[in-house]
Structure formats: C-alpha cells, structure tokens
Subunit: 308 residues, 2 copies
C-alpha cells in the first residue's frame, strides 16, 4: 500500500472543523490521501467565509445537503449534516474503501437538536458495531486509557469493581500496544494503606487477575496518582490506565494541550480524532489562529495504524 | 530585620530529613539564619552515617533524646523525637524567637507508634492554634489551595456545599495573595451543562457569593478541570482552588515534582515545608542523590513571608 486513503468526516460546519481541514490539507497530503465527506458547495461557502482557497486536490465524497453556515452557532442543519458525513465515513471505512476514519469535531448539542439518538461519535460507533469501545487519549510518549469516561465524578467510586476492571484490563492489553501499563489508584496517596479509601484493594486484585490471565506482568500499580506523571516517572512509563476522566486528562492536557489525540480502541475500523471540540467561540473569527496540530497528529496516527 | 531566623524542625531522623538539612545548609545560610531543633549527638550520628561534615555554623536548639538511627525504619523513638522537635519549633516561632517555621518530613506511622495523638503536622497545628488551616501547595508561578485534602475520593462530592465553599473562598482570599483566583469544576467538562454532574451549580453560587462578600470579582469559574492547567491558561492563571487532592496535586507534580512546597495558611505563624515525605526507601543509601530543591524553596518562601 502506498499512501493510505483516510476518510475525513467534516464535523460541524459552524465550528472550526472546515478551517482545520482546509489549512492542514497540504500537510496531511504528504503522508495520506484524504477523502473529505462533504460537498463542494458547502466547502466553497466555508472557504469564502474564511478567505482560504480550496486546494486543487481536495477530494470530496458527496454528502448531500445545503444550508447557510452560521459561524459559532449550534444548529439543527449543521448537526444533521455532520452526522451524515460521519456515518458515511464509517461505512466507507468499514467496507475497506477508505483505510481509516478521522473525525473532525461535531457539536453534541447540535446532534441533539437534529434528533440524532446518539450522544456523540463514540456512542454511535458502540451501537453500530455492537462493541465496547475503549477511549484512549495521548501523544506518542504518553497514552492514557480511560476506565470510566463521561460520567459524573460521584459515580466513579462505585464503578471500581474487581471483575469489571479485570475485564477492562484484559481487553485493553492486546489493543494498547504495550507490555508495560501503569494503573492509577483512585484515592489520594493511593489510599495510604486504607486510611484514605479502600478501592485500591480491588484495583490490586484486578491487576493481579489480569496479569495472571495474560500470563505475564503487564499491568502494575495501583500507582499514587499525584506523582504518577512526574517527569522522572514519565521517562519510563508511557501507557497508563486512568480510573476517571480528569485523572487522565488533567496531566495530558497540562503537558500536551495542542498535541493530544483521541483514539477508539476495540473497533473493527481504525478511528482517531483531534482531542478538542468545535471551538464555536473562535470559529470563523479574524485574529484567532486555529491550531491544527492535534488534527494532523490524529491523521498521522490513523495512517501509521493503517500501514501496520 | 537582616536575615530572618528560621526554625527548622529536624523531621524523622531515620528518613532523608537530616541529609537534606546538612546538604542544603550553606545554600539557605545565604538568605536566612537557620536554627535546627535537634541535638549535637543525633546530628553527629546522622552526619557520620552519611559521611557529610557538620557545617561550623550549624546552630542547634537543644532537643533532648538519644537513640540509634535506623535508616529507613519506622520507629517509635524517631517518631517521638521528630514530634518534640516540631513542637518546640512551633513554640519558638509562636513566641517570636524564630520568625518562621520550616518542617522537615516526619513519618505519620512513627508518630502513631509513639502514641502521638495527631495525624501529622497540620493536624497538630489545627489543634494547637484552634484554627482551620488551608493547605496550599505550589511554586511561585502556580499555587493551588485545596478545598478538601486527605479524604477518600468517594467522600469529595458530598463536601461540595454552597455555604461551606463560600466560607472557604472568603477565608482564602486575604491569605492567598492574589486578586485573581480560578476555581475548578468537579466533573468532567465542568458538568457539561448538568449532563455530567450538577455540583457545578453549587460551585457557581459559592463563587458569586464570595465575590459579593468581598466586593469584587476575585474568584472565577468553575473552570473545566482538564484544560485548566494547559500551557496557554497557565500563562495568565497562577492561583487555583482545587476541590480535591489529586485534582490539584496531579498537575502540580506533573510539572514541578521537585520544586513544589507545602504552605499552611490561616495560622498566626508562618509555616512551610517541602512537598515530599521521609523517602525511607532511599534514606542513607549510597548512590541516591537527595533532591533538596523543594526544601530550599520552602525556606525561601518562609524567609520572604517573614520579611513582609
């Protein structure tokens, strides 16, 4: 395979997605053949608002639809359009026409307004493929798999159950691409011997059981969360399991805000995305430079996975 | 006042504390007059084990006691001794003989073994002065005040109450030394409009009430926790309120593991300490270099506060 063909779902056209696609095209063109799921009229509209020329090799897979772009607004039309773009990208990739899917950011609120019965990309993929998906975020030197993701913090401690975590770790191992994975504790100082919480006992058991099942000591921990990402620890640890959203995303975004990407593991297709949203507050605004690093990293990841 | 006199409680002699005191002496001597709460025999014993000479101007305030140092061990004798050193340091500082107190790390377990009825330094200070203490950790460019500290994560959400948080913020403001303080949300994406938790409503109310009481907009938030410490946010935000231990300590230690210090606000005396423990695992061991940065920063902070 020469350059993989990457399906790019166009995201919410009222947000920063089309600007990112247009601005980063020449860079990603160097290592892949992008195929954008949209139509010429819509891209032309975005390009004119942004005053960016459409590159001559900006290949489009037609998604019908026509509406006026309203910069920074949550709209039904834009929500529906972004969903159809994404859905077709999934089907093309599932059929092998495209080798991987990179999704530009959509608005969950806009999906809701359009009556789409999925909370977001991951929710749809879970239903479409009937699989549990593991949400992984990171950069090449720091990958974080989330044991729980978009739930209130108060619901997290109850989810720490030995059996469930053992299953999660066992499923994660063949997908995560590492023989050394650090599992964080839940409580301050990882419970300090039980004085500051006792969920660490269950975490320890799950680690032991998962390692036993795999037949080698892949998982280690539970690590004291606050020092787990200290510079001297990060020198040797590159793969982590965080038990809740902010436990993993705070250190990641503190260090690599613009670089980090989002990856869905456990699917029959390769899917990645930039780790940011529609950025409605700065979309189409003069004087704001849109950072394309996360998107380019997401495409790069998809390409490397496709070439394996 | 020329150089402030700083009381240094000697910490647990079985840990890294005496090595830190001996190694950093000449550096802190440049900006303060340290007074070490120990006795010559004990320091001589530590110095011989470490093969470090005792500096000629290593001034000692006598704390009676004699026992054999057992490197890396939790011991009753060492626990009791570290408590008496600390207690006398508190009294000297409270009486104004010393201008501030820097506490070297003790072992909470050793205190327990010695039958000392306090869980640690802060617990003792709370009782001694009959005041609520606010635990603050940080470096000059990033300070974090903890709303809750050493409690299990599952107990945190229930502690988020409007009245209690309003009081905390109101008490923090005159102590924290900033006119611009960021308060974090509790949930992923700060609750995402209530979909991922609703404690943010109470946090918002507390912020408004505290600002109203103070008469100006000092507090802002609740901020989305995962992006609150991103590089471009840290450029302008230097004072944060974290709602739980790891929410504040993960980003701090990820960035400044060796530099960060611990400060007790709300006391009639100035007290700071290095933000690390006894490090029993490497105490008195050859081939391990003990990092003195956090300690030196803690002394420096105490000196600057004493000079105000």
């Amino acid at each position: 395979m020469d350059k993989p063909i990457i399906a790019i779902s166009i995201g919410d056209l009222n947000g920063v997605a089309p600007e990112i696609a247009l601005r980063a095209h020449s860079q990603i063109r160097e290592f892949c053949t992008p195929l954008y799921f949209t139509n010429y009229e819509m891209i032309e509209q975005a390009a004119q608002l942004l005053n960016i020329p459409i590159p001559s090799d900006f290949d489009i897979e037609y998604i019908g639809g026509s509406f006026t772009i309203r910069p920074g607004k949550v709209s039904r039309e834009s929500g529906e359009y972004s969903f159809r773009s994404f859905q077709k990208g999934v089907e093309f990739t599932s059929a092998g026409i495209t080798h991987a899917l990179v999704t530009l950011p959509i608005s969950k609120e806009a999906w809701q307004r359009a009556g789409i019965p999925y909370r977001g990309h991951t929710d749809y993929l879970r239903h479409r493929f009937g699989r549990e998906i593991i949400m992984v975020l990171g950069v090449p030197q720091l990958w974080i798999a989330l044991y729980t993701d978009h739930i209130p913090l108060r619901k997290v401690p109850k989810k720490i159950r030995t059996g469930r975590l053992t299953e999660f770790l066992t499923r994660l191992y063949p997908l995560f691409g590492s023989e050394r994975i650090s599992v964080l504790g839940l409580n301050p100082h990882a419970g300090d011997g039980g004085v500051l919480g006792d969920e660490e006992k269950k975490i320890s058991k799950a680690i032991k059981r998962a390692n036993k099942g795999i037949g080698k000591k892949v998982f280690r921990g539970p690590l004291v969360p606050d020092s787990a990402f200290a510079p001297h620890i990060r020198e040797r640890e590159h793969h982590y399991v965080a038990l809740y959203h902010d436990q993993g995303l705070i250190p990641l975004k503190t260090l690599y805000f613009h670089e980090a990407i989002n990856v869905s593991l456990g699917l029959p297709i390769i899917r990645s995305s930039p780790d940011h949203g529609t950025a409605f507050d700065i979309a189409y605004k003069k004087g704001f430079s849109i950072n394309t690093t996360s998107y380019i990293n997401a495409v790069n990841y998809a390409v490397r996975r496709a070439l394996l």
